[in-house]
Structures are given as structure tokens and as C-alpha cells.
């Protein structure tokens, strides 16, 4: 039977095409992306896959330090961290001189020009342009003085007027800018580090028009003259990239791991990045096995093969020099109720459903028992998470669940309609709900699966056409506000609060907490909100996942990063090692 299984793999593998022989002359970085992306316009970079691709060609004002943990923001296009006024409302930014855009026919003579303050103003205004419907607008909505007014004023106009000055966005000179906020926004700099806020050139947007999304012209370490919708994206090193160096300090222990070996060297160090888009997990696994990928997230069904006893790398992989990384994620998975539905106003019903789900079993089936059961919305690693806090309603207890269900007015599920849970059209996503349904049927609650393409699911949630749905939320930046905001009433659909949960007490705390700078006081408020949410069970909490990655021996400087869109420029490939070890594959 083994040969049959292999044959099946073989067919799958052939079906996504074979690549050339290995190249030992150039430093090529081979990566796999699990989803096709729509294009390279930063203002629409709403998913991490798009963000990861854009981070190779575009840059933001700030980026996260590739080695330091907890995550630390460092200036990128900005010269330094900004000066902030005492009231936390006025930010003065200074930019690096001599940063060049990529060469492109959009510029005069085809030569890239220097980046100036106007480009930053332009890029921020694009997020607010009513014609563009930027997916990243929520980051700056109601934050910068005059920006919302500018947006509204331009909505009825035929063409958006970018020349008009905005009070909150002021240019001092070509390398200095002042941004004035309406109210304190402690996450502001994080927002400027996100792919949404990457800097684009007006000439490129104008020159390429609708085709702009296929012609990324940034200032980043790699260039991609034309993006074609295909299964492979090839980036080459930007020859005019400014002087940027590999960091010389990191977290404790990084030195021992060899992460500082390239300290002080000019980046990027690889000549090419080749990204293959492979959706199915088995071809991914095979291409890593054949050394056609340098980094891989282990597909769940290959886990036992790769990691023995849930801890040790298998001898076979060890022999090839492959390394294992276990990375707890800053994420939370959940089943969300639609609180527009009067049925789910019933708190005891929500709690009963939560307690009927056997999370331990789900963890074993879907996450190889490596995930952490979520007690509430905030994942470990962020302020507001308390390790010793236990939510009584996430405990698996059929008896208690039945009791709560009876108290809710539905003894043994009598009188309850079928409840449909919407999810993504993917095997494991379906199995998760089937498992949930199987569990809940034991207390008498009937669950149906609703499968959707990703855009369909997002659409249903945005238009409130769902009873329940399930998803995971990954952090955009290291601040629990990003998670608590998912249950903040003003963020209801079409905002990020897809469950349309409204709780005035929670909202008041949210308003108070989120304008505070990071402090023990703010963490205490976050903790309070987190526990309040646990009690109310507006969602059925799932897991904080751990992802397992494998890296080839020749991949250097890899360290897990949650916000990894800027990470690729720091990676390196050891050609000697690659040549030597390739014989083993």
C-alpha cells in the first residue's frame, strides 16, 4: 500500500510542475506561499500572504526588529523614532536621505528617484481616497485631524484632489513631516509598520493606472518589475538598495544560535527570492523533502512523520541537517455567534454550547495537541493575558452544559432550531465544524456546516448573513487592543467585530484603555476586559495555535517572526552547506 500512497503523492507533485536543477552559483531563497495573492497594492494588503509578498518590494516608515523579543519597533524609512508631544497628539517624523525608488518606466529616464515627504503624504492619503476603497482605511479612520473630512469632501468629486493640504498631515521639508492626531492613538507607530502603510510613488500609480497592482515600484530590497498571476514569483536583489545592515544585537541566546554571524553585513544577502505558490499541503511537504523549499510550515498530517513524540525531529530529517522551530502564535481561533440573532442574546445558551465542545480532543485531532486552549480573547505574549486565569465556561463538561441548556429554556435541545456554522471551504476547516457538531449533538444541539470560498465567507460576515462562523485572528501588531477590538461595538460589521457583539460596559473600558500608552495600568484594564469577555462568552473560544516550521540547514538567520513581512531581507543562504547537503536529497 505504501507504493500506492507514494504514487498518489507523485501525481500530486507532478501536477504543480517541476522546477529547474539546483543553482549553486547564486544565493537563491526558495519559499512557499500557501495562497495566491491578488496584486501588489499595499492599501489592500489585508491578509498576511499579500503582506509577505509586498514586504519584499515595499517598505514602511518602521519595521519590527528581526531578532529582538518582545517585538520592538525600529525605524526603517524613518531616520529615528518620532518626537512625540507631551499630549501624545503631535508626531514629528524625520526620514532617511538618499532612499531611491526602484527603476521604472514610470519615472523620467526610467531611473528611480529619491523618496521625499510628499511620497509619505501621498501614500497615507491613498488609504483615505474614497475612490480606492482601501482595505486598510480602518487603521487611520477618525485618527488624523482633517483626514476624514478630506475623504468625505472628495467622495462626490470626479477625481480625488491630492494637492489639498490636510491640517493633520503637514510637510515641513523634504525629509520632515508632522502628523497631528485627533486623540491619543498608542498603536499609531504599529499602524505605520503594517503593509497597508507601505510607501508608493505617485508617478507609478499614475503611469500604470489600473495595472499598478501588477507593477510594484517601491524602495524595498528586492525588485519585481512585473507581477504575473502565476504559481511562481521571482524577485531579484535591488542593485540600488541603500546602505542597510544586519543588526548586531538581538535577544539573549541569539548569538549561540548563530543569528548574529552576519552582524553588520549589508543586506539583502540573497540574490534572488523564488516564491512558489502551493496551496495543497502534500505537494508542499514533498517539495521541502526534495530541497526545493528552504522553509516549511509542517502540514498537520505530516507532523507525526517529522516530529517524533511531538518533540524531537525524526532521525531522517536530522541527518539532512534540517532544523525544527516550534512557534507559539499570537492568535486566537473562535466560533462567533451573530449577536443580531435574538437566539444568541441568551447567555446561558452560549455558555452551554461552549461547554459541550471537547477541546482536548479537537486539539489532538487538528493541532497534534500542540495548541493552547484559549480562555478568552487575548493570546499569551501580549499585555492583558494572565497565565493563571481559567474561564469556567471553556471546560468540557457535558452535565453542566445540559444543565445550562435547560436553564436557557431548551432542555435537551428541545425548541432549538438547526444552527449553521459558516466556514472556509477547506478540508480541515470542515472537519473542525464536523467535530464541533458531533460534540454538540450529544447535548441535543444540532449544527450544520456551511462551506464558503474565502471571499464568500467574508461577505457573509460583513453583511451579517450568518448565524455563526468560525475563524482565527492573528495579531496585526503586538497590542491586545487588536484582539479586544474584535468585540467592540462600534467595530460591528462591516468592521472587525463580525459577531456584532455589543456590551456598553466593555465598550467604556475599551475606550478608556486604548488611548493609554503601554503601562501596568493599561494591562490591568486589558485583563479586566479579557475576564469580562470570558464570562460573557460572546464567542466560543478555541485555541492559541503553535506552528511548527522546518528549515533547511543552509538557510541562515531564520527566527520566527509574527509580523514577518520585512523579515526576508535578513535571511541568507550558505551555498557551501547547500552544495554539500544537496547530495543527501
Amino acid at each position: 500500500m505504501k507504493s500506492l500512497v507514494l504514487l498518489f503523492y507523485g501525481i500530486l507533485f507532478l501536477s504543480w510542475g517541476c522546477s529547474k536543477d539546483r543553482n549553486f552559483d547564486e544565493r537563491e531563497l526558495h519559499l512557499i506561499s500557501p495562497e495566491a495573492i491578488a496584486g501588489f497594492d499595499p492599501i489592500h494588503a489585508s491578509d498576511m500572504y499579500s503582506g509577505n509578498e509586498m514586504g519584499k518590494v515595499y517598505e514602511g516608515l518602521f519595521e519590527f526588529h528581526p531578532l529582538k523579543r518582545p517585538y520592538e519597533l525600529m525605524p526603517n524609512l524613518a531616520e529615528s523614532l518620532p518626537e512625540v508631544s507631551a499630549d501624545g497628539l503631535t508626531y514629528t517624523f524625520k526620514f532617511k536621505k538618499g532612499v531611491q525608488f526602484h527603476d521604472s518606466p514610470a519615472f523620467k529616464d526610467g531611473k528611480g528617484r529619491e523618496l521625499k515627504s510628499d511620497d509619505i503624504l501621498y501614500s497615507l492619503k491613498r488609504l483615505a481616497d474614497p475612490k480606492l476603497q482601501a482595505k486598510g482605511w480602518w487603521l487611520f479612520d477618525d485618527k488624523i485631524i482633517g483626514l476624514n473630512e478630506w475623504k468625505d469632501k472628495n467622495a462626490p468629486l470626479e477625481a480625488t484632489n491630492y494637492d489639498e493640504e490636510i491640517e493633520g498631515l503637514k510637510k515641513i521639508d523634504d525629509y520632515t513631516l508632522i502628523i497631528k492626531l485627533k486623540k491619543p492613538y498608542p498603536q499609531f507607530l504599529y499602524a505605520l509598520a503594517m503593509p497597508y502603510s507601505f510607501i508608493v510613488a505617485k508617478e507609478a500609480v499614475d503611469h500604470f493606472g489600473k495595472e499598478f497592482l501588477n507593477h510594484p515600484v517601491g524602495t524595498g530590497p528586492f525588485i519585481l518589475p512585473v507581477f504575473e498571476q502565476s504559481n511562481r514569483i521571482v524577485y531579484t536583489k535591488n542593485p540600488n538598495f541603500r546602505e542597510k545592515f544586519y543588526p548586531s544585537e538581538g535577544e539573549e541566546g541569539d548569538d549561540k544560535l548563530g543569528l548574529l554571524a552576519d552582524a553588520g553585513k549589508k543586506i539583502p544577502m540573497v540574490d534572488k527570492i523564488i516564491v512558489d505558490i502551493v496551496v495543497q499541503s502534500q505537494p508542499k511537504w514533498l517539495s521541502f523533502q526534495k530541497a526545493k523549499a528552504d522553509l516549511l510550515e509542517i502540514p498537520k498530517d505530516n507532523f507525526d512523520q517529522a516530529v517524533i513524540g511531538g518533540k524531537e525531529l525524526s532521525e531522517e530529517l536530522k541527518g539532512k541537517g534540517i532544523r525544527l522551530f516550534a512557534n507559539p502564535q499570537l492568535d486566537t481561533t473562535f466560533f462567533a455567534f451573530n449577536h443580531d440573532d435574538p437566539l444568541f442574546k441568551n447567555k446561558k445558551l452560549r455558555q452551554a454550547m461552549s461547554m459541550a465542545w471537547n477541546r482536548e480532543e479537537a486539539n489532538k485531532l487538528f493541532y497534534n495537541s500542540a495548541a493552547l486552549e484559549a480562555q478568552s480573547v487575548i493570546p499569551p505574549g501580549l499585555g492583558g493575558y494572565r497565565k493563571d486565569f481559567k474561564n469556567p465556561y471553556v471546560k468540557f463538561d457535558v452535565g453542566q452544559s445540559k444543565k445550562l441548556l435547560a436553564e436557557a429554556g431548551f432542555p435537551n435541545g428541545k425548541g432549538l432550531p438547526f444552527i449553521t456554522v459558516q466556514t472556509r471551504n477547506e478540508t480541515v476547516a470542515r472537519q473542525v465544524i464536523e467535530h464541533f457538531a458531533k460534540n454538540l449533538s450529544k447535548v441535543g444541539i444540532k449544527i450544520k456546516v456551511g462551506m464558503n470560498t474565502w471571499p464568500e465567507l467574508v461577505n457573509k460576515v460583513t453583511k451579517r448573513q450568518h448565524q455563526m462562523y468560525t475563524m482565527g485572528w492573528g495579531a496585526d501588531y503586538p497590542d491586545a487592543e487588536n484582539f479586544l477590538g474584535l468585540l467592540y461595538c462600534p467595530n460591528s460589521s462591516p468592521g472587525s467585530n463580525g459577531s456584532n457583539y455589543c456590551n456598553p460596559n466593555f465598550d467604556n473600558l475599551f475606550k478608556t484603555a486604548t488611548i493609554l500608552q503601554e503601562s501596568p495600568e493599561r494591562n490591568a484594564l486589558y485583563e479586566k476586559m479579557n475576564e469580562m469577555i470570558a464570562n460573557e462568552s460572546p464567542w466560543i473560544f478555541g485555541f492559541h495555535r503553535t506552528k511548527f516550521y522546518l528549515s533547511q540547514a543552509w538557510l541562515k538567520n531564520y527566527k520566527f517572526m509574527e509580523f514577518n513581512h520585512s523579515q526576508f531581507q535578513y535571511l541568507n543562504v550558505d551555498l557551501e552547506v547547500k552544495k554539500e547537503l544537496s547530495k543527501k536529497f
Partner: protein, 283 residues
């Protein structure tokens, strides 16, 4: 000399064909399983756990268990019900559409023919799976949507065949005789011509049945099909990941079940054509 009717002749030819009879037997067994499952006499408890997760086939669990410890055999049986019901419902929708439109186009010709020909060429020019996906998007997902989607897309071949056959028959003597004694259009078409082309319907149904079954499996594999019920398609979808763990029995169960019925319908369809089509007589 008394001449046997075409049907009797056909049955005689068919009964001599060993493979055709085996195929017919398989189809009948599948139908019986589907019927028993639909009435709840067997496989009603498919959602029950019978053991732990992913047990290999054994004397106790004939086809092993799936990820949730449910019996794969029971799921295959339940999947048979889904597949056969899709084949049946699709035929029930597609046959009347195909026969009526084909007969009208072939018989009347002229602008009626133009319209109907335009309609089916347009239909057949759209890639089938795309059309199926868009119909399930509109109707929402589930078994009903699959019935409608497959029914609405699979009448084209039948329509084209019937149209051609009716065109041929309307010039025949028996039709002219019917005209001579004052038969109306409807009488000639439905009482005289149609019975003489009905063998096409039977051959076509047999072939269409297995296409419908395959389409259901594909749609369910893509997540557009049956929701919350076992289907061979979803079983294969599960197996795609489980194979890496060496769990092959779910794939085997679903594919063997599908292979047998599709092959049986194909062989039966061929044999029926040999038996019923006068032109192929004595080959």
C-alpha cells in the same frame, strides 16, 4: 411469422451479454442499498462513533474508521444513497427537458429549432463545472442545489440526440400515414414518433446517471456539494490529507464504491446501445 417487439429482442440480446447482466446486477444492488439507506433501515447511525480515530480495516470495522471514529463502511453506504439519489433526481429533471425540447426542435424545425438549438449550444459552450459552481452559488449549497444544478446542465446531449432522431423519423412513412388519416402535430409527435425514439432515452439515462454521480463527487470534493452528510467526494477530500499518515481506507472505500457503479453504468449503457440501436444490430 410473428415478429418480436424491439424491447423483447433487446432483452434477449442483453441477457446473453454476461458483463451487461453483471452490471445490471451491480446497479440493482446499489439501488437497493440506496433505498434501504434512504428509508433508514441501514446506515442510519453513520454519525455514531464505533471506535477510536483512524482505525485500520479489521473484522470488526470492515473498512476501518475515519478521523472521528465513525465507520467508513457506513459512510460509504450513506454516500451510495447520496450518489444514487443525485443520479435519479438529475435524470428526472434532465429527461423531460431534453426530450420535450429535442422533440419540439426536431419536429417543428424553423424558428422553434433555431431558438432551441441556440439555447443548447449556449449551454454546452459554458464549461460544465463553472456552470455547476455558479448555480450552487445562487441556490445555496446542499443536495437540492446539486439536483437542480446537475439536472439543468445535463439535458443538452439528450436534447441533441432526440432532435436528430425526430428529424429523421418525421419523414418516415408511418408518420406520413398518420398525417394522411388526419393526425395532429401533437398526436404524431407524442404518440407515434416518441415511442420510436425512446430507446435513446434509456441509453442516455444509463450514461447520464454515472456522469451525475461523478459530478456530485467532484462538487463535494470541492466543498460545493452535500453539506453535513457523508459523500464519496468529501471522503476523498478527507483522505487527501490523511494519506500522509498512511490512512488509505477512506480513499479506498469511496473510490472502489464509485469505480464499481460508474463502470457498471458505462458497461450497461454500452450494452443497451448495442441491444436497442437497430443500426448496430449484427455487428
Amino acid at each position: 411469422m410473428k415478429k418480436n417487439s424491439i424491447w423483447k429482442d433487446a432483452f434477449k440480446t442483453l441477457s446473453k451479454d454476461k458483463w451487461a447482466m453483471i452490471s445490471l446486477g451491480i446497479v440493482l444492488i446499489y439501488s437497493l442499498i440506496a433505498l434501504l439507506s434512504a428509508t433508514g433501515l441501514i446506515a442510519a447511525d453513520w454519525a455514531q462513533e464505533v471506535g477510536t480515530s483512524n482505525l485500520p480495516p479489521s473484522a470488526e470495522h470492515f473498512f476501518g474508521t475515519d478521523i472521528f471514529g465513525r465507520s467508513v463502511l457506513t459512510k460509504v453506504i450513506r454516500g451510495t444513497q447520496v450518489a444514487m439519489s443525485v443520479g435519479l433526481a438529475t435524470s428526472l429533471i434532465a429527461i423531460p427537458i431534453g426530450v420535450i425540447l429535442g422533440a419540439l426542435a426536431g419536429y417543428f424545425g424553423g424558428w422553434v429549432d433555431d431558438i432551441i438549438t441556440w439555447l443548447y449550444t449556449t449551454f454546452s459552450s459554458i464549461p460544465n463545472i463553472m456552470l455547476l459552481i455558479s448555480i450552487t452559488m445562487i441556490l445555496g449549497k446542499g443536495l437540492f442545489a446539486i439536483y437542480v444544478a446537475l439536472g439543468a446542465t445535463s439535458w443538452v446531449t439528450l436534447c441533441r440526440l432526440i432532435r436528430g432522431e425526430v428529424m429523421k423519423h418525421k419523414e418516415r412513412e408511418y408518420v406520413q400515414a398518420a398525417t394522411a388519416i388526419g393526425g395532429g402535430h401533437m398526436r404524431k409527435l407524442f404518440l407515434h414518433i416518441l415511442p420510436n425514439v425512446s430507446h435513446i432515452v434509456i441509453i442516455n439515462t444509463s450514461l447520464q446517471f454515472q456522469i451525475a454521480i461523478k459530478s456530485e463527487v467532484i462538487l463535494s470534493y470541492l466543498g460545493l456539494g452535500v453539506q453535513g452528510e457523508p459523500s464519496w467526494g468529501t471522503m476523498i477530500d478527507d483522505a487527501k490529507l490523511e494519506l500522509a499518515r498512511g490512512v488509505w481506507w477512506q480513499l479506498a472505500g469511496a473510490t472502489i464504491a464509485m469505480f464499481l457503479v460508474v463502470l457498471a453504468f458505462n458497461l450497461l449503457g454500452d450494452a443497451l446501445r448495442d441491444a436497442l440501436d437497430p443500426k448496430l444490430k449484427g455487428k
